[in-house]
Amino acid sequence: MIFRPLASALIALPLLATPLLAHEPGTGAHGGVRVDAGHYHAELVADGTPAVSLYLSDGSDKPVPADGFKANAILVVDGKAQRFPLSPAGGSRLAGTAPVAIPKGVKGVVQISAPDGATTQAKY
């Protein structure tokens, strides 16, 4: 009888730990800023050119195929908000081209729509 609560507690332990880890923005595998976005991790790679890439991975940083995903980026560049869509570009990558050059470490939000209609947003 005592095993049941114990087991639940053991299962719940990672639940307590993961949000703390997941919410810390860090550097992703592609050198961009990786943040937590709903069920996914989203890594935004900007290198000073208008081309912007977004890499999706799951909670354990395994790449998630980007096919069927849609994304909309709102990034603040030089005091102006730039809006542009991102579309699947093979593998776990979503790519888009901004009207202006996007510097590294840009601030903004990317709204992501999953193939099943669920939406989430990644805040940078």
Binding site: N72, I74, L75, V76, G79, K80, A81, R83, K107, G108, V109, Q111, S113, T119, T120, Q121, K123
Partner: protein
């Protein structure tokens, strides 16, 4: 025996019913709580979403298909006016229009669909652009209020007919129980009522259920935190500061009193006793600005009756002497060849001296003394009444320069306040002080210290009492917050309200020490980089 059985059956049914009620109530509660975010969605609050950035704090409230967006500055909670807000939803971008300062509205047709809606707000205010992301959760259906859970639950058991059946059963059981108590007439009425209430269709009950109020009400949650919706925060004028730990000089509180600056104030006193008379234009009223040298009054010296007789006598004597000397002088002048020149000149000098004395004697009786302002300033006190008899050395006017005042405080060390001091008046205003000097002789076992008021002269007047906060001793490290931020809790403890979320405030017990006239130093109970309510804390404290 039969009655006993019926009684038992009644009790058992009631117990069963109560059990059912409990189960249904518990289930409804579970469903309500599921998936709730950290901030508890209060049943009495409209659906809302909040987002914060380094500059802004945004709360979007859904009401009647419209999203009201309240935009405030993050650090001080002041409404942000004149901002442009664009809202990106999965269905497209919308632009909000300003409604009142700091509040913007946008139609939200997408929100008719229940569920979570991801929203991104692009805020442009002044030169700052920020993107705030949040999720608005629209509840699927309003959970029924707890007291009404059972009848509705009964109705939901299997549609309306079963609900009616359940109602009838309840009515029947109640009737049996009550009849067993031999109160037949009352039982019939009661049973009918109970059965009807229980069997009402759920729609009719839903109409009865409390609708969300037109206005979100501020409330205190069971955990002691206070929910203050943004519109209420605007009315209460809630402002915050971000706490920062710093080194502050230690301060001591001394009793003090405003005194006039010795170099910029003066007394107008009479030198001789006499009768006061107004200058041309009359006596100046209190508060009149005067320049140094202005004539404020005249004193006509009064001469007593005996003095007057003496003077009269003296006058007669002088007149007599003048007449004699004059006659002699005329005689000597006529025979200049027969007398020496020295004799003539001596007589002439004697005559002139007598005439001068006579003239002075006359002037003494006539010429008034002019009372002049010794310094520039305003008339602080005036005791002048035309015709009043003033003794010598009477203070008739007191002139004070309101922009040059001193404060005299009683301290216990001649070293306090040298690095800085401030004064707090009884009405909460504060003045800035600069150290002038400390006395050497004790007064009432304390040392008089003099400070000059350097700022905050408005409404200050000599004689006012104030608390002087003088810097003394080694500096301390702590968080300086305005005095208005600290309120007394119901148990007498000093508390401050921390702004933890856009609409959520949490009371924190703190230990404070005096710092200066306007601020206190929090030495325990408050970490840095938190937002603390500085204005409106008293009002938040009163929310129950």
């Amino acid at each position: 025996m039969v009655r006993h059985f019926v009684w038992r059956a009644g009790l058992g049914s009631c117990a069963l019913l109560a059990g059912l009620m409990l189960v249904m109530g518990a289930m409804a509660h579970e469903g309500h709580d599921h998936g709730a975010p950290a901030a508890p969605p209060e049943a009495t609050l409209a659906p809302r979403a909040e987002a914060t950035s380094a500059d802004f704090e945004l709360v979007a409230v859904l009401r009647g298909g419209t999203l009201a967006i309240h935009l405030d500055r993050f650090a001080d909670n002041a409404p942000v006016d004149g901002a442009t807000i664009e809202m990106d939803t999965p269905e497209g971008a919308l632009t909000a229009r300003p409604m009142e300062p700091g509040t913007y509205v946008v139609a939200a047709p997408f929100a008719a669909k229940p569920g979570a809606h991801d929203l991104a707000f692009t805020v442009t205010a002044g030169g700052t652009v920020d993107v705030l992301a949040t999720t608005l959760t629209v509840p699927a259906a309003r959970a029924p209020a707890a007291p009404r859970a059972t009848p509705v639950a009964l109705g939901l058991l299997g549609g309306l007919p079963l609900g009616l059946l359940a109602g009838a059963v309840i009515g029947f059981l109640a009737a049996i129980v009550l009849m067993a108590l031999r109160r037949r007439s009352a039982a019939l009425v009661l049973a009918a009522g109970l059965g009807l209430a229980a069997s009402l269709p759920p729609d009719a009950q839903a109409e009865d259920a409390p609708k969300p109020p037109v206005r979100d009400a501020a409330q205190r949650l069971p955990d002691g935190s206070v929910i203050v919706p943004k519109p209420s925060q605007r009315i209460l004028g809630v402002r915050t500061i971000v706490t920062a730990s710093a080194s502050h000089a230690r301060a001591v509180e001394l009793p003090g009193r405003v005194v006039p600056d010795a170099n910029a104030s003066g007394l107008v006193q009479t030198a001789v006793g006499g009768r006061l008379a107004p200058p041309p234009g009359g006596f100046k009223p209190l508060g009149t600005r005067v320049a140094a040298g202005d004539i404020l009054a005249f004193v006509h010296p009064s001469i007593g009756a005996s003095d007057l007789k003496d003077l009269e006598q003296q006058g007669f004597e002088l007149d007599q002497q003048i007449a004699i000397v004059k006659r002699r002088y005329e005689r000597l002048s006529a025979i200049q060849n027969a007398v020496t020149r020295r004799e003539v000149e001596e007589t002439e000098i004697e005559l002139k001296g007598l005439q001068t004395r006579r003239a002075t004697l006359e002037r003494v009786q006539r010429e008034p003394e002019a009372l002049r302002a010794p310094v520039a300033g305003v008339i602080a006190t005036s005791d002048a009444v035309a015709g009043q008899m003033a003794d010598p050395n009477t203070v008739v006017f007191r002139i004070i320069d309101p922009d040059r005042l001193w404060v005299e405080a009683l301290g216990f060390s001649p070293d306090v306040g040298r690095s800085g001091a401030s004064g707090r008046l009884a009405d909460g205003r504060s003045v800035t002080l600069a150290f002038l000097g400390a006395g050497m002789s004790d007064r009432g076992q304390a040392l008089p210290l003099q400070f000059a008021v350097t700022a905050g002269f408005e409404g200050l007047r000599p004689g006012q009492f104030l608390t002087v906060l003088a810097e003394a001793g080694a500096p301390r490290t702590g968080i300086a917050i305005p005095r208005t931020a600290v309120v007394r809790g119901a148990n007498g403890q000093a508390i401050v309200y921390e702004h933890v979320a856009a609409e959520r405030f949490v009371a924190r017990e703190v230990k404070t020490e005096p710092l200066d006239a306007g601020r206190v130093l929090v030495v325990a109970g408050l970490p840095p980089d938190r937002r603390v309510v500085t204005e409106g804390a008293e009002l938040i404290d009163q929310i129950r």
